[in-house]
Point group: C2
Chain length 190, copies 2
């Protein structure tokens, strides 16, 4: 009876350990280093244990993405709350967005670059994803004007995403990042 609940708890803890370890390993050495063998060694279990929790490596990455989106949404929310005035809010959120991608590049890649088997722009999308997008919607809302809000948000999001990814992959000079970000906001919202 009680043993059953303990087992379930331990199992849940181990599942969380897998997700956390995968994320840390990816952040430390890149997703290429996150092999099932390596991951199993890090959590001090054998390989097949991973498959008793997740369908495969992609499912582990998807779990990392979902948890990452929760954090991401929180950070965007904090940035949105601490600023006042529509313009300042946009600046604050955009900076938080870029800072997140800069601080956790592997996580960001998994969330928005790698092909993870998750529904995105549909009602079935995980709550965390919708929450993160929702923060952007709320950021854009006061400045939307007559444009349709979701589409405008998607467009602004795309621009931020483009800046972040092209810089991270070495296609843009890093030293001009702040200039580009300021430029984008000015062109977009004035």
């Amino acid at each position: 009876m009680a043993t059953q609940t303990r087992r379930e708890r331990e199992r849940a803890e181990r599942e969380q350990l897998i997700v956390t370890t995968a994320r840390e390993l990816a952040e430390a050495e890149g997703w290429d280093a996150v092999t099932t063998r390596r991951l199993a060694a890090e959590i001090e279990y054998s390989q097949p244990v991973l498959y008793s929790h997740f369908k495969g490596k992609d499912a582990i990455m998807a779990a990392v993405v979902v948890q990452g989106c929760e954090e991401f949404a929180e950070e965007l929310r904090a940035a949105r709350m601490k600023a006042e005035g529509a313009q300042e809010v946009v600046v604050s959120v955009a900076n938080a967005y870029a800072a997140f991608a800069e601080r956790l590049p592997a996580l960001y890649d998994a969330m928005f670059t790698h092909a993870v088997d998750l529904p995105f722009a549909t009602p079935e999308a995980p709550a965390a994803l919708k929450a993160a997008f929702g923060e952007l919607v709320e950021t854009v809302r006061p400045l939307a004007g007559e444009d349709e809000l979701p589409v405008l948000t998607e467009t602004f999001w795309s621009s931020l995403h483009g800046l972040v990814t092209l810089m991270r992959s070495g296609r843009l000079r890093r030293e001009d990042h702040e200039v580009r970000l300021a430029l984008l906001i000015r062109r977009f919202w004035s």
Copy 2:
């Protein structure tokens, strides 16, 4: 004497065959299908032949990218030339950009998403890359105003790139693509 030149020519032809086949295979079945074994089978040679032309798989992809950039630059140039008036030119080039990414998604991914070992935002960048970016610069120039031209171009490019990649990876609803593109241009250039 003459045999030597014939051999060199045949060798060059085979190298081109490798690049072309890699690109077609990637476009038809995705980059995951482009394994060295599969590629060797397609060109009807054994695996090690690939390594007598290229250092490794990454080098083959890099060659595909460079050739792809040449085509890309040409298409952008054509789009820029056929339109008149700064605004119309931007619309034309932006549409050509998005159409290229839509028509050749695997190539586009290799060019701007995958980590290919090529210098980008530096003087050592391949001419084809600089040519493609140059087309965007010329597109932006008449509308630059007091902003610095290269940085403004990078920012606009990033926005296009973000739109294209997020849509292609299923993060954005495809049916709103034209609306987003129009929105971006209006927000950016008026």
